[in-house]
Amino acid sequence: MKIELRGVTKAFGAHRVLDDVTFAADFDHVLALIGPSGGGKSTLLRLLAGLDRADRGNILVDGIALESSEDALREYRSTIGIVFQAYNLFPHLTARENVLLPLTAVHGLAPAEAAQRADEVIARFQLSTHAYKQPGLLSGGQRQRVAIARALAIRPRFLLLDEPTSALDPEMTAEVLDVIAELRVLEQPIILVTHEMGFARQSADLVAFIADGGIPECRPAQEFFDAPSIPATQRFLQKILKY
């Protein structure tokens, strides 16, 4: 899949989180976005998700520019799978109802077909025993797996994952990363914001470094980690790989 940013600017108040960013990436499976906190990773992901609008510039996904009307963006959002850090699920619905909701309410599937699809993804993520529990009764890792199942059940064009493991303890992180690694073999490409460097190195095709409102470096994962080309990346990697 291809994403392209042309002169994208996004500011919150006086602070420009993304400042005139021009960038293109072409990858088959996984694009990892890494960088320091506050550098603009999540902002970029929200723009790509159609949740926020850029103040200036264009974003192209597979060659098509995102429109700016809310209706068009909603239509666009309904075709992609988005998973946030935490609290993705609706607490008043069971895991299964959470998966069913977009299928019936947004995609208009008949109840029987929706149920079949939901049960399919739930089984695939080994969540069948938890299908009728509300999110409050699930562990953090299980909740994120349900969120991923919900995102996949609609058969999205691609997945956007915004730090899907950063609210989890190490054991649950591994459980969720395993699931994401398995998704690599699917046809759906994944764009992932992460702090898990080992995972990015192992699973990503491309790694983009986002800092200070720009994307100074984007290269294949191996190269990126072995031989970062710019000082900012070198410093960042040194710092976080120190321990």
């Binding site: 309904s78 699920l89 607490p91 947004v106």
Partner: protein
């Protein structure tokens, strides 16, 4: 004595609870007997007016039920209007809620009837009374609903938008079910207030329960015997509301 203390780590035994309730009832009854036994004996006279009281009770129930529905409509409408980005709607809602909450119901009833309805030539008392009561209660419900909506986290709106729900669907499928859970206790309080507040409509001559008790009182001169059933009949309406809320609360419970 230790048994009569109810603590989080050591709840009181059931027998202690039963004994406590019985003793309190006995003391209360003795007190009532001591105060009223000499003066109260006119139950037969009041019994003769039971149909009046019952009719008043039915009217109170009808007014309350109608106002409950209508005030919920006003309350939800005002809460949504207040969250709207459209300024005239937003400010109209703020003015409605703040004005009504700043005025006593007695004023609204008197002014609504004699100041407004009369001038407009609308003399149908019951609907005017229901409307005034609903406007009054709706302002409080609006605040309860607004607080409930605001208590639902931003992540829920984000998730709803992320899966492609329209804003109407988001309210209906995601926000309101959570607001309902959150707002049920204060709403129940408001609904039982509404039932009790309907008693004020007697001042403009709507023949609801309090009005009926007044009539019985003036016809029989037996104050105690006319007003005691009044209290009991209000309790018969308000206690089930709070009981029903407790049941509903248990049914809608989920872990956060």
């Amino acid at each position: 004595m230790e048994a009569f203390f109810d603590r989080a780590d050591r709840p009181a035994p059931t027998w202690a609870r039963v004994v406590t309730v019985c003793v309190l009832l006995a003391v209360f009854s003795a007190l009532c007997f001591w105060i009223f036994s000499s003066s109260v004996r006119d139950w037969e006279k009041v019994w003769g007016y039971r149909a009046v009281l019952f009719k008043g009770w039915l009217t109170t129930m009808g007014i309350s039920a109608a106002a409950l529905v209508l005030s919920t409509v006003f309350g939800v409408g005002a809460a949504l209007a207040r969250r709207s980005g459209f300024l005239p709607l937003k400010f109209a809602s703020v003015m409605y809620v703040e004005t009504i909450r700043g005025l006593p119901l007695m004023f609204l009833v008197l002014f609504g009837f004699y100041g407004v309805a009369d001038k407009l030539g609308w003399n149908d008392r019951l609907p005017v009374g229901i409307l005034i009561l609903s406007l009054f209660s709706g302002a409080y419900i609006a605040e309860v609903i607004r607080a409930g909506i605001e208590s639902v986290g931003r992540s829920q709106w984000d998730s709803a938008r992320a899966i492609g729900l329209t804003s109407g669907q988001t309210y209906r499928l995601v926000i309101f079910p959570q607001v309902l859970r959150q707002s049920l206790p204060p709403l129940a309080g408001q609904f039982s207030s509404l039932i009790k507040d309907s008693s004020l409509l007697y001042i403009v001559g709507i023949s609801e329960l309090t009005f009926a008790a007044q009539q019985v009182n003036s016809a029989t001169y037996s104050t105690f015997e006319a007003y005691l059933p009044l209290g009991i009949m209000y309790l018969v309406l308000t206690l089930p509301v709070s009981l029903w809320t407790k049941i509903l609360e248990r049914k809608l419970r989920y872990e956060n």
